[in-house]
Subunit: 85 residues, 2 copies
Amino acid sequence: MSIFDYFRSAKKDTASIAKERLQIIVAHERNQRNKPDYLPKLQQELLEVIRKYVDVNQDQVEVQLDNNGNCSVLELNITLPDRAQ
Amino acid sequence: MSIFDYFRSAKKDTASIAKERLQIIVAHERNQRNKPDYLPKLQQELLEVIRKYVDVNQDQVEVQLDNNGNCSVLELNITLPDRAQ
């Protein structure tokens, strides 16, 4: 599965309420499967960068990590409080 | 346009060559349009985090920033050299 197929198959958002949301997707397509995957380590560092800009609590963050053949995908979904910029 | 529509409409990859690639997508869905957009500033910081893990040159990075109503999307496409992990 390629990176692009992943995004095309992304699940539909059924909620119609306008929320302040931030979504970060990191997709790593490797040409060799036996190389180490650094996405799990990257996750915390990405959140630290985001926290410089918005007020994010750990319980507002949903993390999903998928491995599919030679494609690893890290997905962070953050619902921001209304007071954040 | 919601975040999810954006990913579903992502362009198809026509190249069939197996490349080591990294794609980062940051989508910010705002409930108010008049708030400042911090995605352009975020771009450089995200790249610095990625550089801790892989050897990335500036000319290997394609950056795209889209604004569509209340949804801002930052897309970084990085083609990694074969020697990188």
